[in-house]
Symmetry: C2
Subunit: 424 residues, 2 copies
């Protein structure tokens, strides 16, 4: 991931690898005006340490964001963190000893993998389909672990527009997951950076709102609705957990940046943050559509991919004889990057899949980037066909999806225009 992040900085590479929001739409004159007001009123505060749990004014902004998710949150139950990533780290710091079990989705957020690994957690991943985590498989897993005398420290999920898969957990599954958490007194970490970035369909309640804040720890962030460069996220959790995470945060970085916290507070005071989110939604919806169109045009018929109703990512799966880690090296020669699927697993699976980001670059670059990836994929398919013999390939059926069942398959992809070319 380190090299990948460095590559995303290179101007000649089209990166579909990162999780970047597009920050070019934020007006520089607003930025200057905001900062001018902070300078006039609070320079000394901006440059000073703040309270470990965050500034009260920022907690008020967070309560406002949560209200847009139909959540009523008490500021005392909020911990301001250095990005949403810090919530994952603090959850592990608070709860995980080496060898402890964390349950995650398969695939899971690639950025959580080094966090979990640093705490030497035993991460068990549960399959997903187009409706998100398979709760029936989760229950089987929990039963099995219980028989082994092992109790997961928490279930980690990105229920809306999942990173990396792009799928959303259906309401019924959410209710069931929350019920399981209550029945088994099991913590759930709901990582929810994207749900205000919905491009179609009806909103689904958060796990935290269904749970009432008993067993669900909620992770939110300003990264995707305002700025990733301010490094501000938050946790919402019952007071005893917030207290433990607060203690952990003291040891980790004392407090989050006062300078960037004042920026958020001043920005929200203008009262137009939802307009900006609406503009991002419109921008990213068009980019998603551009990516779906380009995939249909440039990827071979052997490939499949998910249909995200929001967020920033989709997940494409190639024939299992293609290794996307190897493919990336070839793609970089063509000046295009993606995240190889293996980064989203802790056990080496995902080798034929890739995560594609559609928020970070413009539509033209998306089309060109997908064209380039499509080119190297077709090369690999062609090479395979040559090696195995075109004649044999023509007479034998292609491997069924079940043969590569370790990665997410989505036969229930939404029908319609963006899919139409796939049957052609």
């Amino acid at each position: 991931m380190r090299d990948l992040m460095a590559i995303t900085q290179r101007p000649d590479v089209i990166s579909l690898a990162g999780g970047q929001p597009d920050t070019s739409t934020f007006p520089p004159e607003s930025y200057a005006a905001l900062m001018g007001r902070i300078a006039a009123e609070s320079t000394a505060r901006a440059l000073q340490y703040g309270p470990t749990d965050g500034m009260a004014a920022v907690k008020d902004c967070i309560v406002e964001v949560m209200a847009r998710e139909d959540m009523r949150v008490d500021p005392d139950d909020v911990l301001v963190t250095t990005g949403g990533q810090q919530v994952i780290d603090l959850m592990c710091k608070t709860f995980v000893d080496p060898g402890d079990v964390i349950v995650a989705e398969a695939p899971t957020y690639p950025g959580a993998v080094p966090s979990f690994a640093a705490y030497q957690a035993d991460v068990v991943q549960v399959a997903m389909d187009a409706d998100g985590m398979r709760i029936d498989e989760l229950e089987d897993l929990l039963d099995r672990l219980e028989r082994e005398g092992r109790r997961p420290k928490f279930v980690y999920t990105v229920p809306s527009f999942q990173n990396p898969a792009g799928v959303t957990m259906a309401l019924e599954r959410r209710r069931r997951l929350v019920a399981i958490a209550h029945e088994r007194e099991l913590l759930v970490l709901e990582d929810n950076p994207y749900s205000l970035l919905r491009y179609e369909g009806d909103p689904v309640p958060t796990l935290q709102s269904l749970d009432g804040g008993n067993f669900v720890v909620y992770l939110g962030t300003f990264s995707k609705i305002l700025s990733a460069g301010i490094r501000l996220g938050w946790a919402v959790a019952p007071a005893p957990i917030i207290e433990k995470m607060n203690l952990g945060k003291q040891g980790v970085d004392l407090c989050s940046s006062s300078m960037t916290q004042l920026f958020v507070a001043e920005y929200f005071r203008e009262g137009r943050w939802m307009e900006y989110v609406a503009s991002l939604r419109e921008l990213y919806r068009r980019r998603r559509d551009a990516m779906l169109d380009a995939l249909a045009e440039h990827f071979p018929r052997e490939a499949e991919w998910t249909y995200p109703q929001g967020g920033m990512f989709l997940w494409a799966t190639l024939p299992d004889y293609i290794d996307t880690t190897d493919l990336l090296a070839r793609a970089l020669q063509e000046k295009v990057a993606f995240v190889p699927g293996r980064a989203a697993y802790l056990d080496g699976r995902g080798g034929s899949s890739m995560r594609l980001n559609f928020s970070g670059v413009g539509e033209d670059d998306i089309r060109e980037g997908i064209r380039r990836i499509g080119k190297v994929v077709r090369e690999q398919v062609g090479l395979y066909d040559t090696l195995t013999g075109a004649a044999q390939a023509a007479t034998e059926p292609a491997p069924a999806p079940e043969d590569t069942a370790e990665v997410l398959h989505l036969p229930r992809r939404e029908p319609g225009k963006r899919d139409a070319r796939r049957g052609a």
Copy 2:
């Protein structure tokens, strides 16, 4: 510490507890101008993720600061971190498993205590005197640990104007410590936030410069020379260690704030950062003198304290029948705060000592704060004298310093005006 930090936010309390720089001297018009330039040139970058290891422009600033410490640093050996605190966390994350030994000074930086505790380190503390860590005691300890088959993961030291004790490690001891590190292939974490804040005496080389970057990991920060609210520090270390810490940082917070990094880069471009540091030096020197004078005036003759040549703190020790944790509760009623000595130990020692900060508030508040603490200390001394009997106290000698040898004693306090009243 959490409650203490909250208390420092209360305007009616004189806090000598925090580690705050005085940020009120930074000109708001400079802040606005800097931000205006960032807005014009780099709004999108300020709001975006950056590379995990930090922006190249910030590394250049760090190289410049290091040059002022007579250190020649390669930007590739630098990791930009979210405050210096994160270096401590990442060192533990990289090297410490539960039960591993870390060697620290006695007393040690109170903010390192929750970091070490979170990794379940076994922290062994080595005594200090006016010349810093007792290297002879360190060698005895290392020999003892070796016999037990235990190898410390690193030695943690704040060699210059130590937090909390205010003392500075003498050059001979620095050379010896570096030699020991080489002989025993032992890592040293040099935490050096204050050394540019020297008010008198000659600079002493950093451990890192004496070592040449082989066994010393250097921790630096902008917190004390520019701003704590930007949450930016750095590590300088050999490449393999930087790589491991970089991986840890990915899991912890992905990257440090782009917004605050651009602030630093733009600020250094003005070329006047050393002038600002010089103004802080002058300000803090006067405050240190005010505190030393006030201590001589208001503390009872049974108390003693260190004489810092720089930095932000001194360490006062009261008769051993006074518990400074209890005393703090009484002091807060008088609207004044300090850090009880026990916060600087992991084993309950330090109960009669306190850390006093002289950088965060003005001279008048320092004098008034010390007067208030002196008042509650005198109450305790009076109460003790009454309970034990004034007659007995008059005929028996006071306990010798050796009787409370668990805490730092400094018979070698600098002579001169600020001490003169103590004999009166």
